[in-house]
């Protein structure tokens, strides 16, 4: 008897396998997309940690403004137009009156006010007075708004539970149903462009009003529930199978006009090989971040367009500037001259990478020292710096892809120039972070990734105002650099900003606390049937910002 019931259970599970997803069968055009990088299965910015989420959310949600494919020019989104006050601290956004949530509820300024207040009320201040934001991943611009610090909640005695604050953020004001004013603490030239990042997504007050920090990660809206996870965007969520697919359907009432493609399915792959096979067999129309090694083969496929794009994340060496002999600038400069960056780009990346000369995001000014590959010059500088053969221990997370191939190349170059380079790989991210704290463990640490390439301001976080602050990656400190970084954002005049950044670039270029190596290209592949307004953004995560303008030719 029990066996029969077990048999029925087993049979039901198998039947479910054969019918999974059948409910979404439809006619019409369907765009199948894959982004071959990590993803988190959340639909709320409290857990916004990956570029994949950025893409899904661009189709489902909106922010106040968007950017064009250069990732810098600001265009309207939920805000039709906006005005900035004389002193540059106050922004007035005029919201589009036609925008509605996918469940039919009209979108109003209340939703903007709610989003910002919820963020403030559920964040807290840590013991140093810094904002401990409730969003765990990428941070929104809301922290720069005046009055946020007064509206925060408090951390309970157990150190885990947060009692939400009740005060409204003074810097946000609803003027009327379609107008909202935001006042910042100080002028911030990056505020407006920063709003295009999906951590600033505007959330529905009527759905999330009762959620708090304690349950926000598990409420139906956040985990992806069709009908509850509503946005104002061109596509509605129709199905979400975590780690497998995100299925969207066109929103005919979209305030910028109904999209042309009927359905979008984001496929999540654990392994890029499947995705590449599917591109070739015609089961995938668009893929981001395909390994550069596949470029040539895919480019030969007559049905595919293959594009190589710049990567805003980079490969660099942070030098321990407080430990002899690397506290002497000539020795650091010798490091830069000793490494043949172009050779690594050519041999390992087959040319599909950009050599870097300074922090990406900064213009490569004419008076920047490019530290060309010159082992003789390196030797000379070592002599000037009084280098006596001390080890240069390079600490890095041994699990990052290609570590095993690239690090020995760098070591070989350094050794050839007379530098006693040692490799110290760790067995994971945590041990890397732990070993980083003890400054005697390393002379150089390798860090990869980030998105410094998007703006000069994004490099600031890697430096600290105190030299031996174990919290940041670089020991280098110089009060002048922080003055210049602040100067760069506290004015909107492009000429003044460029002047500050130019000076900053020169200081960092001369003192060389970091040796920048290269930024590997990203490869995007699209089917030739994809057209209309389709374009890859400089920040490829943003590419879905105008998805409603794309067209897909029917399969032959």
């Amino acid at each position: 008897m029990r066996m029969r019931r077990l048999g029925v259970l087993v049979a039901t599970m198998m039947l479910a396998t054969l019918t999974a997803g059948a409910a979404s069968a439809q006619d019409g055009s369907v765009l199948r997309v894959a982004r071959l990088a990590d993803h988190f299965n959340f639909f709320h910015p409290v857990q916004f940690q990956t570029g994949n989420q950025f893409q899904w959310w661009n189709a489902v949600f909106n922010t106040l403004i968007k950017v064009e494919s250069d990732s810098k020019t600001v265009v309207s989104d939920l805000a039709d137009t906006w005005e900035v006050s004389e002193d540059g601290t106050q922004y007035t956004f005029n919201l589009n009156p036609d925008a509605t949530w996918h469940d039919g509820t009209p979108f109003t300024a209340d939703d903007v006010v709610f989003t910002i207040n919820w963020f403030a009320n559920n964040s807290t201040l840590d013991s140093t007075g810094a904002l401990a934001p409730v969003y765990k991943g990428f941070q929104p611009k809301w922290g720069a708004i005046a009055g946020v610090a007064d509206a925060v909640g408090t951390l309970d005695a157990d150190g885990v539970t947060i009692t939400p604050g009740t005060a409204a953020v003074s810097g946000v004001e609803k003027v009327d149903d379609h107008t909202v004013t935001i006042t910042l603490d100080a002028v911030n030239a990056e505020f407006l462009t920063g709003l295009a990042d999906m951590s600033n997504v505007i959330l529905p007050a009527h759905i999330l009003a009762d959620a708090t920090a304690a349950d926000i990660e598990t409420v139906p809206f956040t985990v992806g529930t069709p009908g509850v996870t509503v946005g104002t965007g061109p596509y509605k969520l129709t199905a979400f199978t975590p780690d497998q697919t995100v299925e969207l359907e066109a929103n005919a009432d979209y305030f910028k006009g109904a999209p042309s493609i009927d359905r979008i399915v984001f496929k999540l792959f654990a392994d890029p090989t499947q995705a590449i096979a599917q591109l070739e067999s015609g089961d995938l129309d668009l893929a981001f971040r395909v390994p550069p090694a596949e470029f040539d083969r895919l480019a030969a496929d007559p049905d595919l367009n293959v594009i190589s794009a710049a990567n805003p994340g980079v490969f660099r060496i942070f030098v321990n500037t407080t430990q002899a002999p690397w506290d002497t600038v000539e020795n650091r400069q010798a490091l830069a001259h000793a490494i043949n960056k172009q050779a690594i780009v050519d041999s390992f990346y087959k040319g599909r990478a950009q050599v870097l000369y300074n922090h990406p995001g900064f213009t490569v000014y004419d008076d920047i020292n490019k530290y060309e590959y010159d082992p003789a010059k390196a030797a000379e500088l070592l002599a000037t710096g009084g280098y006596a053969g001390e080890p240069f221990k390079m600490l890095y997370d041994g699990t990052f892809p290609d570590a095993g191939a690239i690090m020995p190349l760098i070591q070989a170059d350094l050794v050839a120039a007379g530098i006693n380079a040692e490799l110290v790989p760790t067995d994971g991210a945590q041990s890397y972070v732990d070993m980083l704290k003890d400054r005697t463990n390393w002379d150089g640490s390798i860090a990869i990734g980030g998105s410094e390439g998007l703006s000069p301001d994004r490099s600031r976080q890697y430096y600290s105002t105190e030299a031996l602050d174990t919290s940041t990656n670089s020991n280098y400190t110089n009060p002048q650099i922080f003055e210049l970084w602040t100067a760069g954002v506290s004015t909107v005049d492009p000429a003044a900003r460029d002047e500050a950044y130019h000076e900053l670039a020169l200081i960092l270029n001369t003192d060389l606390p970091m040796v920048h190596l290269y930024a590997p290209d990203l490869v995007m592949v699209s089917s030739k049937a994809l057209g209309g307004g389709f374009d890859i953004h400089l920040n490829e995560r943003e590419s879905f910002m105008d998805v409603e303008t794309w067209t897909l030719e029917p399969a032959a």
Partner: protein
Amino acid sequence: MGAYFIRRVLIAIPVLLGITILAFLVVSMTPGDPLTARMDPETLARMQAHPEQMEALRRQYGLDQPIPVQYVKWLGGVLQGDLGYAISTGRPIAAEIGPRIGPSLMLMLLAAIVALAFGLPAGILSAVHQYGKVDYLLSTLTVLLISTPTFVLGLVAIYVFGVTLNVLPVGELYTIGKEDDLLDRLSHFVLPALILGLVNAALLMRYTRASMVEALGADYITTARSKGLSSRVVVIRHGLRNALIPVITVLAFLMPELIAGAVVTETVFNWPGLGQLSIKAAKAGDPAMMMGIVLIVGIAVLAASIVADLAYSMADPRIRFDRGR
């Protein structure tokens, strides 16, 4: 019979407990941290700048407790039917594992059928024509299948049948746009089940062949032949029935082989099953998720070994009657 079954089940419980303790120890010793493993460098830099906030995050997930405490908490939860929450999705782990059991089960069942359908007859043929041309051909084929890694076989199959010839799908459960096409869905099973099945067929073939050869050399076979029975009756009714007894034991080992093989097969074919989930859990370093999978797989393997024991005692009357005493 009933008492034997109950005794086996009772013994299995402490075994399962032991498995979970061992697994928990291994999982907690693995390098990597579920919190920082997948953090963007910018987020990591921010967290490093505010160590207090990092600690608060750790406390929230219960990762600041000593290991025995974490284990007891986990066990307590399991006994109440709560497998915990996955760090990377915020969803209950039971909800993560549940929908994946069906696809994995179907895949393993079909692979088992393939393994039996190819392995048994091949083993019998080889044994009957021992040292003949058929035997050498089949033996070479099986050695080839056993020594080629599953992912190589899978990738070759994908590229030959899926991309170049374009006759079979390259992976997953269904084709988008053809969700209600049953034939399409069945076609998605073909390659993964074949790959996983053929490797195990090769293993099964070798055991069957060895067992058959031994059985066919026994005295009672000579007696049967001298009685004038046809070759077919001798081989099947007298030889095979006895040869199958040790093969049943091997079939019990087929289950863990299929599970282990499924991990690779599911990754290659992007199959949404437990194997793929276990890789995901390992990469994320999520202890609760990994323990959930160990629990399910542990139960499955123990159940299979109990079933095999019962089948064995049913097939061999000597065992059944011996126990009676």
